[in-house]
């Protein structure tokens, strides 16, 4: 829990400092900040939702992205060493937020017709609804949040496990086993290093994937038929 508070505090402080003195001609820090937000804005929000809806859902998507990113990155920060997202709470909450967001978007746009459109896709013969409707229901209203949460959680858990394995093995080989096994220790240390770098990539990627899927779900809820 402390790890998460640190991550939240980090985000808030960073953006507070970044946006406190916004200048017309940006300095390095401001440029970096604008680049990060611009990435979410253009690649995720505008990319999936278009300009108008992208602007509407930007706050929720940006919060999601930076929260996931910060909490993923805590997994490789020495001293914290545990990703905030590798415990079910955060992924689940964020998945629920995404769930609520896309259902809200759908109802706001199409009213009760949203559920009908989602569950009974147009252009399908009526007798196929017997098969299609349960599948649609399952995939749209149950599997989406579950997969969102589990994908993030498992990625982070697996990364954490890998790092733990590599570093504890290194420790074991170097100090407990000793002698000839020290060579293995070097190998496992190298793997640990590689996986640490890999984890940075995974952290960014998972934050992107999570946010982008949320945006796509919202977009799917917004279109009339799919």
């Amino acid at each position: 829990m402390v790890i998460r508070f640190i991550a939240v505090a980090l985000i808030v402080v960073l953006f507070w400092i970044g946006t406190r003195r916004m200048r017309m001609i940006p300095g390095r820090g401001q440029s970096l900040l604008e680049m990060a937000v611009g990435f979410v804005q253009s690649n995720i929000a505008d990319g999936a939702l278009g300009k108008v809806d992208g602007k509407r859902f930007m706050p929720i998507l940006a919060s999601m992205f930076f929260m996931v990113l910060a909490m993923n990155l805590t997994g490789i920060v020495p001293g914290l060493n545990l990703a905030g997202t590798s415990v079910i709470g955060v992924p689940l909450v964020l998945a629920l937020v995404a769930y609520v967001a896309f259902i809200y978007a759908g109802i706001k746009k199409q009213g009760g017709n949203f559920f009908k459109a989602s569950l009974f896709p147009a252009g399908v013969p009526w007798y196929l609804y017997i098969v299609v409707t349960p599948i649609e229901f399952l995939s749209t209203f149950i599997l989406r949040p579950v997969t969102l949460a589990l994908r993030l959680l498992m990625n982070m858990v697996a990364g954490h496990m890998l790092l733990v394995l590599c570093f504890s093995a290194t420790h074991f080989f170097l100090f407990t086993a000793g002698g000839f096994f020290g060579l293995f220790g070097i190998g496992t240390l190298a793997f640990g290093f590689i996986f640490t770098i890999f984890e940075i990539l995974v952290a960014v990627l998972q934050a992107y994937v999570f946010t982008f899927l949320t945006a796509v779900y919202i977009q799917l809820a917004l279109v009339e038929e799919h």
Partner: protein, 185 residues
Amino acid sequence: MLTAILAAATEGESPNPLIPEIYDIVWSLVCFAVILFFFWKKFLPALTKTLDARSEAIEGGIKKAEIAQAEAAEALEQYKTQLAEGRAEAAKIREQARLEGTAIVNELKEQATIEAARITVNAQATIEAERQAALVSLRTEVGSMAIDLASGVIGQSLSDDKKSSALVDQFLADLEASEKAKAKK
């Protein structure tokens, strides 16, 4: 054996990682709410404002530059027009000056001609007068000389003789008349 390890693992301490604890959910929600609040109310509006202001400034700058360019073009055009006007004016003045110069020269020429004519007339008048005077004096002289000569020949004075002087005058008049007739011819 595997099942035994699994059983031990689950029995031991780690609960199922997929079953969330209540505190976990609550605090995660709090985290998200905090982040969402700041992004929604503070960071994104600030960023948007700055970005809008920047694009506006850039557009304004472009517009300003365009205006300046247009002004410069206008000034150039004006300058060119003025230059052309100046050239035309200069040409006009030169032309006028040339005309005036010709007029002055002509006038002077005319004056000179008139003056020359006047001088010629004067000279002719003088000559005529002198000739007349010379003629008169010559006539008297010739008369007296002829009388003197005649008196010398005759041997007596004829000077106060009215008849002789009339004779002389008559002779001279005849001479003159014959001269004139000759000239006429």
